[in-house]
Amino acid sequence: MTKITDLGVIETLEGLKSKEFSSEEVVSEYLKLIQSDSKLNAYIHFNGEKSLLEAKKSDQRRANNNSLPLDGLPIAVKDIFCVAGEKTSACSKILENFIPDYESTVTSKLWQAGGIYIGKTSMDEFAMGSSNETSYFGEVINPWSSDGDALVPGGSSGGSASAVAAKMAPIALGTDTGGSIRQPASFCGAVGIKPTYGRCSRWGIIAFASSLDQAGPITRSVKDSAVILQNMAGFDTMDSTSADIKVPDFINSCSKPIKGMKIGIPEEYRLDGLANDVQNVWESGIKWLKEAGAEIIDVTLPHTKYALPTYYIVAPAEASANLARYDGVKYGYRSENIKDLEDMYSQTRAEGFGAEVKRRILIGTYVLSAGYYDAYYLRAQKVRTKIVEDFTMAFNKCDAILTPTTPTGAFKIGEKNIDPVTMYMNDVFTVPASLAGLPAISIPSGLDAKGCPLGLQLIGKGFDEETIFSIGSILEESANFKNI
């Protein structure tokens, strides 16, 4: 018999609907795994009592025949979403004991749809990282690691991807600023979608880079992602950048044929020295889509190689201001070691932030400072315009763009955190869509030389998640990727 925790979102909801099992049973099963996890460190916090209480309420609703769309479904939440009454720290010491009294719009919508909070997943501190190694609560392990060879789950939503891949959650929420949903999903063999900027409200999500941050689900299938995104997305008057655009039927789009669709292949993503395994998976993807009746065309995104440096100016600049509120006055950590006001600031922030966060705050401060603004920040925002124009041109010719999600599969813990730039290169394929605010999904499509998952990325036009769900479903079916 299949275990409850082997079921994805849709299967779990079907089981709950047919009363095969109760939400209380589902939640208990997941809680058991979370409590006994000594290997992955995917979760940093959970509240079994609250989860079980909510599960019982959900079962009651089902018994009364007034169930909600996601009723009884356990949902893991990246520690960057404010969940009322639960510790929310963005995995930083500076927010270690912060308990918000408010609920992020996205999680609030999911609870209103009947979803059950199951726990907080680990992440890179303030979502700054690509390996989950910068979390204040320790590294997270990729469930694909073999004995004695611990691999990173990717980042920054590493805890979420690891939890979903290890069947410790049917779905986990992530956020993506430069690849933080797609890259860990790719490393862990999960599906992860970053919707169009403005599709999901950012209200109540701890900000990293406001013009880039977007929430999205990490799941075990494309359709599962569609179901969750359907319930997360939508206009929010509390977020000035939220789009007042109707949310289409994502679930329906997962079963639409792709015959005649034009898929763009950007030549610039064929990096010098792109690993064979990655190249092969990409070729397979192209072949599968062709077989499904799509037309493959070459497109050009000439400014691709400038996307990463642009990102590493824009994102730190925004972060340097977004993280200025962590000053030891209103909430969070304040250093004990202070004599005066200046100490309160500089000592608190020196002790409260980790090395990567400090590095990015310093870069961000530098590129905005007098004498450097034009040379760095302004120039980067202009290059960003060129990157957006590249996509606009490309999308005149195609319906979606297919690329690898990452230049390599999961790497070993400690392997790439020696030099920041080497680490940053992980996001080379995911960052361009982020800068342009476009929707992008990563679908597990094959294995690397080590036998670890590799994802393919589909980038869609703005507010056209439907197309990438349709194409993504075909890729998923053809790849026939089996989770561990």
Binding site: G198, V329, Q381
Partner: protein, 95 residues
């Protein structure tokens, strides 16, 4: 443009992050490597290009002028590291 130690100190002061003298050399080098890498952007012709000011082409939405919030002093202060009589406190500010 290279980022020297004195610039790093100034930036760290602006960002209010204390840096130990022992860290300065390493950090200067690290940040310099990053800044050298991003200088690749100098290759791009940005003449007559408008900088991005918002990802979407939407315009700013405005809200009605109504009092809908406040009266939360307990909740506002509940996470404060230090507080007295309904106020946050900080080491005395000398103006």
């Amino acid at each position: 443009m290279s980022l020297d130690k004195s610039t790093l100190k100034r930036v760290a002061y602006l960002a209010r992050i204390k840096i130990d003298n022992s860290e300065i050399d390493k950090m200067t080098e690290e940040l310099n490597n990053i800044m050298k890498w991003v200088e690749k952007l100098n290759e791009v012709d940005i003449e007559d290009v408008q900088p991005m000011t918002g990802v979407s082409s939407m315009t700013l939405r405005e809200r009605e002028d109504k009092v809908t919030d406040g009266g939360l002093e307990d909740k506002i202060l509940s996470n404060a590291p230090e507080k007295i009589d309904g106020s946050f406190t900080v080491p005395k500010v000398i103006e």
